[in-house]
Symmetry: D3
Subunit: 322 residues, 6 copies
């Protein structure tokens, strides 16, 4: 838009802007399709694979809206992120009614992305948790000669059977385990909660060698110690790590905008610290946030939380090269 | 964004689109700064001039969001608007704390616009009603050799004194009348309601020769007849008409998202018909919609209403040339 | 508060006030306990007699809050109410847990009021509809030598049996009929709706000689004709009239803040006109509005509606003496 | 539950009940699987076929909850429905992730139902509008020797192409027309609205011989006349009629709980009258209500509306045999 | 319902169910009136005894609805509850308008229950706190030869005078103390908060020998230590314990759905641990949760909290026999 | 109001009152304009200086409404405040459209107040944070011979440049620093958060000698230690202290009703303790709470929080004289 009419501007420019301040929304601009990236934001607007009614498909939009609320600078970590090559790659286009096709598209799109951008750290905003299975499949295929470990933050094991409902937000880690893409003992689940999982599924993950830390473990021995142990366990025999972060691992008071909420969960400070630390580790090469439902949230607090989690992680990434 | 990664698209493109359907959002795209336009959308995100707490500054964004909910075609008026040169000119950039400056900017920006686009029909989304005063001033100055008439749809006279609060959403027609920009008998107010105005202000407008039709008049003799009479009255001795439409003229059941709501107002069908008819009249050269507060609305119904009002008006405009 | 500190004022005065405008809140000030009144506002904050969960006890406060939103002047009725002696008498203090005592207090308080103010027109804001029974009992006792007629606007007959729940919001007119305070054929019920009443209760009122106009009757023959017939029926053999207005007689789209909502009801314009007309009749000596639940309302629209109903009625009252 | 503990009852019995009153919830009890029925309530909790995010899958539960708010008796139609053999048949069990399977189940289940209950009038509560296609297919197969006509109340034509999103809530009448199940000139669409449909789809239905009445037609010539004409058109050469009622045909002020809302729609009184009249016609043998989204509704008003629509229809049915 | 129509099921069965998972809703089914129970759920839908407007009467329904959100298994406590004989006994039927009668019914019903089920652990969901007085009276009478101790978690002392409002949610422990049912020094109040109680009531409980731990005490010395001291104090000379848990003892950020909310309260983790520990103690024979108001809650979080509290307690109970 | 009508009372008296209980609302009554006060409540209903849309102008009303929810007594601090001379001085009357004039009025009004009440501790409820600049200017001028120190609790530095938007809620401490009213090294900022401030502003405050404690510092070394260090730093060379408390320093889970919310903030217990301690210090002579927006709050929790903060502070003040 080029004209000489004073004060008339595109809507997103006709707003207050402090010229000394860089917001995340200014920094993480749309990818040009060519720039080699340190990290890239990818949205997966899918929630029809969810067992319960979920508006998780609106998460990418809600998260981008929250990019306007934060700056690139943290005196707490002494870092300004604005020169990092992090861009917004957009969303993976979902089919309206063919859910299996949606999952195929996720894997196909991410495989192509990893070919084009071999070093990119994907930061994926689901969508429901079913999106993590094809995402991790693509991630594994990206590292054919390396073994992949998974750090899975969640209140739930997410290893339901496939007979009762097909491939849903309750099955991603069943899918991963059954496919053999990742070995059970290369997976650590953190924040699993009592009275939110069936015993057969706990027994199943244990039988597969998956390591489990409950939310109560975190309260008792501290997130820092849990993470130290988890990294040790998952690090044995693996080369790269993928972090799948279901936001319902956080207590309902802090993350009311998840479909399956409850109390007794992790608090945000512990999560912020954990994600910073994971950011600092060069082997962590992928990250997703899933199962936020902005349509039932309160003042978008849960999407804001996810953005702050992402920023903590990227502050850690920024510290890698130091 | 040019790349070959399948399914990965900018967020606004990674959504369902029916290739046979044109939405208003597809049609009213951003102005390129050069195209000569039939009509142009202009947002004025100002509500700090409002006496009561108001989020009217968010109206332009809410209205644009509702552009996605409507198509360009009406079988009711047998018209498809998609070839009309109507574009989105953006918003007039408001000062954060200097309200008088905001009003100056509105007038300056619109004057410049009218110079650049002598034949454009401005369709302005406020903002509170204070924006109509500088808007009409600019409109009058655009037609130096012609006399301007005003059709003012509103529950309120909007001619408060300036001593008690300065230039507010309660004073635009006081401002117009005192400045002499438009003569009192070239103004018709339609939809004014009992128990929502002070007697001295009713007496004031009457003393100035302003013609008043109440909401009860509309119920009794019909909007069609009211409009016929109003056009006759306002048409005497004027060459061009400006329509200022305060959405609170509509009953609270249909327009709950206005700051000053109440019952006994106009129903939407009457307003849709009236705006269509005004659209058909070549002398109608400007239109504003004001005093929607999307922050207190229910499911954005009031912004949707305003979009449908605009589309009815443009359907009328489309019929002008026939 | 008397001091010389500039700009510092009691909270209700440190707000915008247009010195040329009189709001209802300025006009209907607190009664001094002595002034002889034309009409008086009385709140009855009781909803524990309601069968379903109801916040009707908060209606008096919600209605008073809405007094700030309206002025005293209507050009639609050519009247300015501000010189009428209408004051706010306050609320009748309810017992916390003894509901029968609450009903006794209502009757005792109103009897004493009618002794002190023999000519006052009470305008009572409930509270649930159980409050109308003691209110009407007091009203009848005020006119020992006169026969009282009732105009009852409601979606419901309100003549439930007493065995199943005692004296509730479902029983006021059973109470009136059984006590003999008012004869059945001196009662007209207006706006009664299908699928909202049990057949035995319809049969009961018919057997008592009560006249019934349904909401559908109003749509078919018009509120004006219904009211003409109703006044003729209720006027035979009666000297004074009391109007009990359950706001759920209005369609749910216009009065969403009632406990028992539904569609197919009366529209507000018809109600405004009816109340104006009732206001003009000297025999109408009492009025109550009941069964608003502000805690479930949308933007207080239902309380605003009730205030506008009251203002229409008072505009009628103002016309009596003309 | 059989015990002698006083006052202790199952939750649904430990509530107020007026022994003289029959609620719809008491009357329409669960079907025993054997009783031959006049009409049966069937829920289809599917909304994953919806283009936009929709909670229509929660409609059956919301509608049943509203059964508690209405009685079986209407003095407006002089009818008490409580002896009609209308029962609740339950919901059709949807697959979690296979939407095509969901549609197959709807058709299979209804075909079996029609075999078991050859004379039942199905009253189906969707779900999104995609459910109407298999529902109508089953209905057509039920009457192999008879020709079926459709009365389709909707703001939208619902004949989108299948390429862009598959079988969705936007395609049911495309599906019906393409399959040849019902001829175009045996279909009347009522309440279609401008600026809510694409021109190619209007042209498509016209080319197929479908008769279209817009919402504006209803305002202009009246619902009664529209229905008379529609019945004449659809009645030519057909033996039985199916009514598909998309609740978004109603104006947004009265039905805010639909996914695609807007103003300019039908008002509830017209719909109540139309459904009563359709109920009286012996050839009307099936009815569905679709596209309510209770998760975005206000005080469940839209589900209440649907229940009142159903009751009006059944009042008409009750009058058939008279 | 027995028929052969495929996929058609009662509404509560036509939903996703994982056949390997047992939800609390599947486990705690309706009592058959005969089975001897370990524990039983009893609802008391009363809130008309509340001083402030309260929807606590809807708690039993809200809590039962939340039973669907949790499973019977906790890996955190290594327990699966599904074989425990815990059933839903239903609600105690309240009178609509006679609050004293409501309290009599509570006591009568529970006395009869304790006769029929001498070993049952009642888990009572109020209702407002007034329900605890008759509940405790029944509990005391159940153990005629034993002395009863009370652990009372609450932000408030709940010992108001009876003169100002009668028997309300503010008086249960005044009622207990005055009746002599439980001695003051057999009562410990935990979580009492500053600026939420009047000094005379604090002095009163102290004068009666009641032991008080404030919310601040819990922060300072830890819930574990507070509970140890409390059990020691209350255990002296008592044989059985009753726990009355007013959910407003929890900080408003975690339990926003209580009538009287505020900050500075207990956090949920401390409460979960305390209830587990109380569950393990054989002397704890009764438990109630009161003063949740689901009508003002956010996403039902407060009812979910209460369910998780109950599950922690029952996990403790399960550990008793080990 | 003096009359003999039983039970009829002014609305605020016709409510339950426990005669043994003193609420904050009873204690902090309106100032008579003469009484010499220990502390005074002053409201500043201004939010038009806010960069983002804010309803902070409604805070004084929301806070006063919350005075009804708390008592004067805390057993946690062993104090009953009801005899302290703390009164409500009302609000400073804001201009409707001249924001600079609003700021002038704040300073003028407070200067006059300090003249009239040389020893008063002002407790100011904004309003947005722009109000603190004139407030502190007045405070500094009150102590001409003393040096003033500032304790500033906030997530933000609030030292934006003036070019981009003028004097806003983002600039108060820029204003203080540039004017020289308070030296940089006499200011401590507590609770500043990462990703919520621009680097140039952090550099600016550091360059001015301002001491900064981040929210993370508080988590790591404890609020108590932070406050000890802060008091030591700010106490060097100063005589009196002013505390400016932006409520967004609190984590969004506890204070959702602030315009700029986020996680990672201070928890309320730490704030309650800090404010008590500041209350005990004789050098603390002024306090403001700003940036609450009650229009977006959840159940008024954020205003309740602010009242509890005030009460903790006053409990500290009460302990000064001991």
């Amino acid at each position: 838009m080029s004209h000489e009419i004073p004060f008339l501007k595109p809507p997103d420019q006709a707003v207050f802007r402090d010229h000394m301040e860089t917001k995340v929304a200014h920094w993480i601009r749309q990818w040009d399709g060519e720039e080699q990236l340190l990290a890239g934001i990818i949205g997966i607007p899918l929630s029809k694979a969810s067992i319960s009614h979920s508006g998780a498909s609106t998460t990418p939009a809600a998260v981008r809206a929250a990019f306007k609320s934060f700056t690139t600078y943290s005196m707490e970590y002494d870092v300004d992120l604005q020169d990092l090559a992090v861009r917004d790659l957009g969303d993976i286009h979902m089919h309206v009614t063919d859910i299996a096709e949606c999952h195929r598209r996720i894997e196909a799109s991410l495989r192509a992305l990893y070919n084009a951008q071999p070093d990119i750290i994907p930061i994926i905003f689901g969508g429901d948790h079913s999106t993590s299975c094809p995402s991790i499949q693509a991630f594994v295929s990206r590292h054919p000669s390396q073994r992949v470990g998974l750090l899975h933050f969640d209140a739930h094991h997410d290893v339901r059977n496939f007979e009762d409902g097909g491939v849903t937000n309750g099955t991603p880690f069943r899918g991963i385990l059954e496919s053999g893409a990742v070995q059970g003992d290369h997976i650590v689940q953190i924040g699993i909660r009592g009275f939110m999982n069936a015993k057969p599924y706990h027994d199943y993950v244990v039988s597969k060698g998956v390591h489990v830390y409950t939310s109560r473990d975190i309260r008792r021995i501290g997130m820092d110690e849990v993470l130290t142990q988890a990294l040790q366990l998952v690090g044995k025999g693996t080369d790269v790590l993928y972090v799948s972060f279901d936001v319902d691992v956080i207590d309902q008071a802090y993350a009311p905008g998840c479909p399956a909420i409850g109390t007794g969960g992790v608090n945000p400070w512990d999560a912020l610290d954990a994600l910073y630390r994971l950011g600092t580790l060069p082997q962590v090469q992928g990250l997703d946030f899933v199962c936020i439902d902005p349509t039932v949230d309160v003042r978008n607090v849960t999407s804001r939380l996810a953005v702050q989690f992402m920023l903590s992680f990227l502050a850690g990434v920024a510290a890698r090269s130091k």
